[in-house]
């Protein structure tokens, strides 16, 4: 399973994302984020945007990365459906992501709700056995 939506958040929305590697985790968290907003199967991966970040921990990295996706969504009026993820760990975590999507189309994308912020509520990135899990609650 790539991700699942959380059931018990009263005010807004959230998900758990999974991945055998950090890269897969970030890819699946990205898919989960946009699946809250639209039918990502209907989003053509035509336009590329890149995100580059350097953070000390995987948690800070994921938080700031998701925040960046929300920013791109609003600034460029886009949703994304495909992600190429590179994460290298040196002293810090270096992230380079190519996000592919297109301009938001009300007719085409079966729009759901607008995610306006990632929150720290229940926010966690953890390694459980042989895979990673991220818990993310977003403000709608």
């Amino acid at each position: 399973m790539r991700f699942k939506f959380l059931d018990k958040i009263t005010a807004d929305a959230g998900f758990e994302a999974y991945g055998k590697t950090e890269q897969k985790l970030f890819e699946n968290a990205s898919l989960a984020l946009f699946s809250l907003m639209c039918d990502i199967k209907r989003v053509e991966p035509e336009v590329k945007k890149t995100v580059e970040l350097k953070r000390k921990t995987l948690e800070e990295l994921l938080f700031d990365y998701l925040d960046e996706l929300i920013f791109l969504k609003d600034r460029d009026v886009m949703v994304f459906s495909k992600f190429g993820v590179e994460i290298n760990k040196n002293n810090n975590y270096d992230l380079y992501i190519k996000a592919f999507g297109e301009r938001i189309d009300t007719e085409k994308h079966s729009l759901l709700v607008d995610v306006k912020a990632v929150t720290k509520h229940m926010f966690k990135v953890e390694k459980k056995g042989d895979h990673y899990k991220a818990t993310v609650v977003v403000d709608i």
């Binding site: 009263t10 009300t106 709700v113 912020a117 609650v137 709608i140």
Partner: protein
């Protein structure tokens, strides 16, 4: 709520004493009925008692009857921190700075509207941008956007969206004068640039409502609500991506700065800074800018409402009596003075999902899209008891995800149409998430406010048309 440490200390007052948790500076007090307290999540207690640990708090950390779990501070949370040695906390204001409600009256009656309700709602739906990725019809430059941030609703009126008289009936006259756009990140500006005049999604909406009941004819008439059957327009929206980015920027910054001030919080989402520090003041002025953007937003939407009604009825909107009753703010921190322990103290009142309720001031309480809404009036009792504050709506009881499993949006739309409510929504899933059963009963909330006396009910409105993102 299963916690046995709540003590009923009055008909509508439920106390959690300072002894409940180490570090509590004040007691926490839930203003509610037994029914509403019983239905509140246990986490609400944890959150409001964490709030009660913040520095400089006076009297109580309040939770209003519509309270539910938020980020750090519950939605429905109200407290006051001394200006002199207290704090300001972005998480206790909320992400959607100046999410608020506006109410407009009309000269129209249900008989005027009924034959044209679909035409009216359809045109409002096409003319007021809503939903994910919706962009406003105003395309300001960055320079102009900063003017909007500094001037709020006044900018909108000067730009031709509405009338000067509107400003008299908006909290703070629609412009918080201490806003400073220089304290707002370029990132926040870039997020907000295309969203001026948009409604948003989620629990944001615009409704056409009919006056169903009037409880106080004199006050109601003063507010422009004269008859049962009269049509009003109510809408709920905030500062969009812009306000959220301002909140995120300062929340992230404060998390890293608390060590400098020797502040520890029980929940990082309550990260704060001393109000009189440079950091505290920077957020206070940036927050004011986000408030102004939301005021401008609601003013632009008001203009669109007038345009649409005018087009559908074929007369100048002035002849339709589309005037503002009031515009209230739900998420804000303000400097106010209260009598505390025999002396007047200047405090920074935080209202998160709560409304100001000054004596004589209209209070607009939105229910779910199926149950209707109320107009109330603020009272002297609110000044004495709850830092001039009251509830903001009916509060969710069920997650969005769970609500969607109970009903499909298309079915809900049909059901509502049969019940006399014509809804247009950008998202059927979004509509399902807003179903009435996912919310507390607004009548229960109003019974508490009116019974306790912090707001008195003036009129009740039933929805007949609705647009949503």
């Amino acid at each position: 709520m299963s916690n046995l440490k709540i003590q009923k200390v009055g008909e509508y007052q439920y106390l959690i004493p300072k002894t409940y948790k180490k570090g509590m500076v004040v007691d926490a007090l839930i203003i509610a009925s037994q029914k509403l307290v019983d239905s509140m999540e246990d986490e609400v207690i944890e959150q409001i008692t964490n709030v009660a640990c913040l520095p400089g708090l006076v009297r109580y950390a309040f939770c209003m009857p519509d309270g539910h779990v938020g980020y750090g501070c519950p939605i429905g949370g109200v407290f006051a921190s001394r200006v002199e040695d207290g704090i300001i906390s972005p998480g206790a204001v909320g992400f959607d700075i100046n999410c608020g409600m506006r109410l407009m009256t009309t000269h129209l009656s249900i008989d005027d509207i009924k034959p044209r309700i679909e035409e009216l709602v359809d045109l409002l739906f096409s003319r007021i941008p809503a939903g994910v990725g919706s962009t406003g019809f105003i395309k300001p430059s960055k320079v102009e956007f900063k003017q909007i941030v500094e001037k709020g609703a006044e900018w909108a009126v000067e730009a031709g969206f509405g009338r000067t008289k509107d400003l008299e009936n908006i909290e703070e006259n629609g412009k918080i004068t201490h806003a400073d756009s220089d304290l707002i990140s370029n990132r926040a500006v870039e997020r907000g640039l295309l969203q001026v005049g948009t409604l948003g999604s989620g629990n944001h909406y615009l409704e056409i409502q009919v006056v169903e009941e009037i409880f106080d004819p004199i006050v109601s008439s003063n507010f422009g609500i004269h008859n049962k059957g009269q049509i009003v327009v109510m809408f709920h929206c905030g500062s969009r991506g812009f306000g959220h980015q301002v909140a995120t920027d300062y929340l992230n910054a404060f998390e890293k700065k608390m060590d400098k001030y020797g502040i520890k919080v029980r929940d990082n989402q309550l990260a704060c800074a001393p109000f009189e520090s440079t950091d505290g003041q920077n957020y206070y002025h940036a927050m004011a800018g986000a408030c102004n953007l939301a005021f401008a937003n609601r003013q632009v939407i008001t203009h669109r409402v007038r345009e649409v009604f005018s087009k559908v009825f074929g007369v100048d909107d002035k002849k339709l009596g589309l005037e503002l009753v009031y515009d209230v703010v739900h998420n804000i921190a303000k400097v106010e003075k209260y009598e505390i322990d025999g002396g007047e103290v200047e405090v920074i009142v935080h209202r998160k999902g709560a409304t100001r309720a000054f004596p004589g001031q209209p209070v607009i309480l939105g229910g779910s899209m199926e149950t209707g809404s109320y107009l109330l009036v603020g009272t002297q009792k609110a000044m004495q008891e709850t830092f001039g504050s009251t509830a903001h709506g009916s509060g969710r009881t069920m997650s969005r995800h769970a609500a969607k499993r109970h009903v499909r949006g298309e079915e809900l739309q049909k059901k509502m149409k049969k019940e006399g409510i014509y809804v247009r929504s950008v998202s059927y899933a979004g509509l399902a998430e807003e179903a009435g059963f996912a919310y507390k009963d607004i009548h229960d909330v109003v019974e508490v406010l009116d019974g306790f006396g912090i707001s008195k009910k003036i009129a009740y409105f039933r929805p007949i048309g609705n647009i949503k993102g």
